[in-house]
Subunit: 434 residues, 2 copies
Amino acid sequence: MSLINRLETSAADFDARLGTLLDREDAASLAIEERVREIVASVRRDGDAAVLDLTRSLDRIRCDSVAELEVPAERLRSALENLSPAPRRALEFAERRIRRYAEQQKESGWLSEDEFGNQLGQRVTPLDRVGVYVPGGRAAYPSSVLMNIVPARVAGVGEIIMVVPAPDGIINDLVLAAAALAGVDRVFTVGGAQAVAALAFGTDTIPPVDKIVGPGNAYVAGAKRQVFGRVGIDSIAGPSEVAIYTDGSLDPDWAALDLFAQAEHDELAQSILICPDTAYLDRVEAAMERLIADMPRAEIIRASLQGRGALIQCRDQAEGLSVVNRIAPEHLELAVAEPEALLPEVRHAGAIFMGHHSPEAFGDYCAGPNHVLPTSGTARFSSPLGVYDFQKRSSIIHCSQRGGQALAGPARALAEAEGLDAHARSAAVRGEPE
Amino acid sequence: MSLINRLETSAADFDARLGTLLDREDAASLAIEERVREIVASVRRDGDAAVLDLTRSLDRIRCDSVAELEVPAERLRSALENLSPAPRRALEFAERRIRRYAEQQKESGWLSEDEFGNQLGQRVTPLDRVGVYVPGGRAAYPSSVLMNIVPARVAGVGEIIMVVPAPDGIINDLVLAAAALAGVDRVFTVGGAQAVAALAFGTDTIPPVDKIVGPGNAYVAGAKRQVFGRVGIDSIAGPSEVAIYTDGSLDPDWAALDLFAQAEHDELAQSILICPDTAYLDRVEAAMERLIADMPRAEIIRASLQGRGALIQCRDQAEGLSVVNRIAPEHLELAVAEPEALLPEVRHAGAIFMGHHSPEAFGDYCAGPNHVLPTSGTARFSSPLGVYDFQKRSSIIHCSQRGGQALAGPARALAEAEGLDAHARSAAVRGEPE
């Protein structure tokens, strides 16, 4: 069995085969949904007692109160201070770049005056309190801690609460160090649907938040869906994806490594490379066959590439980019000598990596832009996580007396047309001369 | 029975009573959810045939194809041209002001260069195709047509598809005129969950869209929830609300009319006025008792005020504004002489109407800011509908060779710390000298 699927846009069954590869139907298990509903209800009803109970049984932690599950500020500080120099430098380098990029996203309000002396504007304020979910156990990613907390901090969020499961009491020091560096306010070692429910409804110990962000397993995602509306949530992330468009100028070894980097996340991750040149695709496939032997996560990479990966031969650049737009990938590499020329043809992608020296892995860690990106084709209508996700807008309408008189007539006419007489009267009294 | 509830913040049961009034638990009927699931599945499976079938039976329309349900462009134009001068002027006045305000919201991208010569930025592009749901029948609101279509148009959305049910073939000419004025591309007289499903999945006749916005009944809201993820949606709107804070300087008749204007929407609408002065609250209540007789929609107003309305006496301004923040109202009127002084204390509100000459009714029609606003306390974390809802962002990462060499080390270190070796390799090869 070959390492990766080969497709040609000229084949009669291309559309169908691509459709099958891209199929993102998530058959969210009804059993999980039901279990999540029970957990959310019990935390809502019993608060701390339910959180304690679930954490003791699911994460096998011995403790007598939720307060004991809070990580002391001192522990966060020491995790950062005790980090060895190399990872600490890398973490600080990444944090600084993520923060600098985020600062450029910060939005501010405006106020303008119309011809009648009415002031109209938009006020922008940070959210009061935000919860950040961080997965624990094996998939503990300090980079995700930075990517979720830094933009909230830059937005000016009043209080940032992080939750992270610590199965068997084990917690990753690099995760705590990243949280301290990013500026978290409080950390609780609680995870799963119970952590999401506690953040949404609040308990005696865990304060309720206004929005919950951060990745998690099916229980976490299910709980976020269920509390959505009471609190804001970020998007529900699907498997990670990369699409690489190249004219054949990307070193085949580099192409192979970029595809592997995506595929090693998990078996559902998707790595696609599109190029008009069959000979080049052969060289990439050969490089993959050669390099796979060196990969510690080769088993996951193989499963991902065979199940969802593809090398696609297209007729020309225009067709290649139309395939990219159909995919609307989370990550897009435009691995050509002059990527700017292609940019106007790209309509949908979460992040666009331009040229040969911008691998997607830079974006995961330290390029600066957020690595939380729209997956599963949602780049058609949504955006990377950013400072704007932690700010909200309020409209400002301040009419002068004269300005109110100018608006009263049209408002009244439209209200009457809609049969809303109290609206019409409320508008009309502002139109009467003093 | 008095017309409206009276509360005092000093009462021992104030928190509980306010909590009961604000309770927004929407017991979404399981029966409706199940029926919506069937409708969505049948439209997804059978496309036009299902849409035709459902429209014939639910809206009692005789037709032989979905194509017949499209409103011809000529019909849209003539609806606008045949409008009598007064409503046409009012509609044009409103459209111009909504457009001008929206133009100030339009976001544009940026690109900046770091110290290593890497270019980082954010690209902002409009959505390709958007669906706008417009309720039909009695609650046909041309103002909502403008409020939903104009920002999409200003954002530069490629194609705007409107759906509006026409029960018994009846369609409101003012709605068509507003759609024509706002610049809609195509209109189908299809409604309910079947319209939402058709827009989300596409049929042979109705093209699939990337995002669906606009208000609707429980079936429409349920369908939007179910297709969310495949397409974007705006928020699910709850009942409309106003909170008025006044020091007692707002004419009691005006206060009464502003409360009525909110209450007349429907029985679940919420009208709350907060003031430290009991005597003033008595005067407002007396004005309401007197003016209610004139109101054509008195029955709805009474039900709304008795069920969910309140005059609240607070101790002082600071406490009054803390009640406002707890409510996080969709609409807030700051009916005081110098509202600017209060603004810093307001943390959550969808739209803020400043002073005595800015009734909420202006915001519904022609002030300029959007009347689609966060309800049910969601102003804590969400924003008015705006141009930004029809734009999306993509991150841009363009490393120079030297810049890539600078990022390679830290990216590799963090990838290794996370145990992602292919990421580390993909980064590392960019760090090697040529």
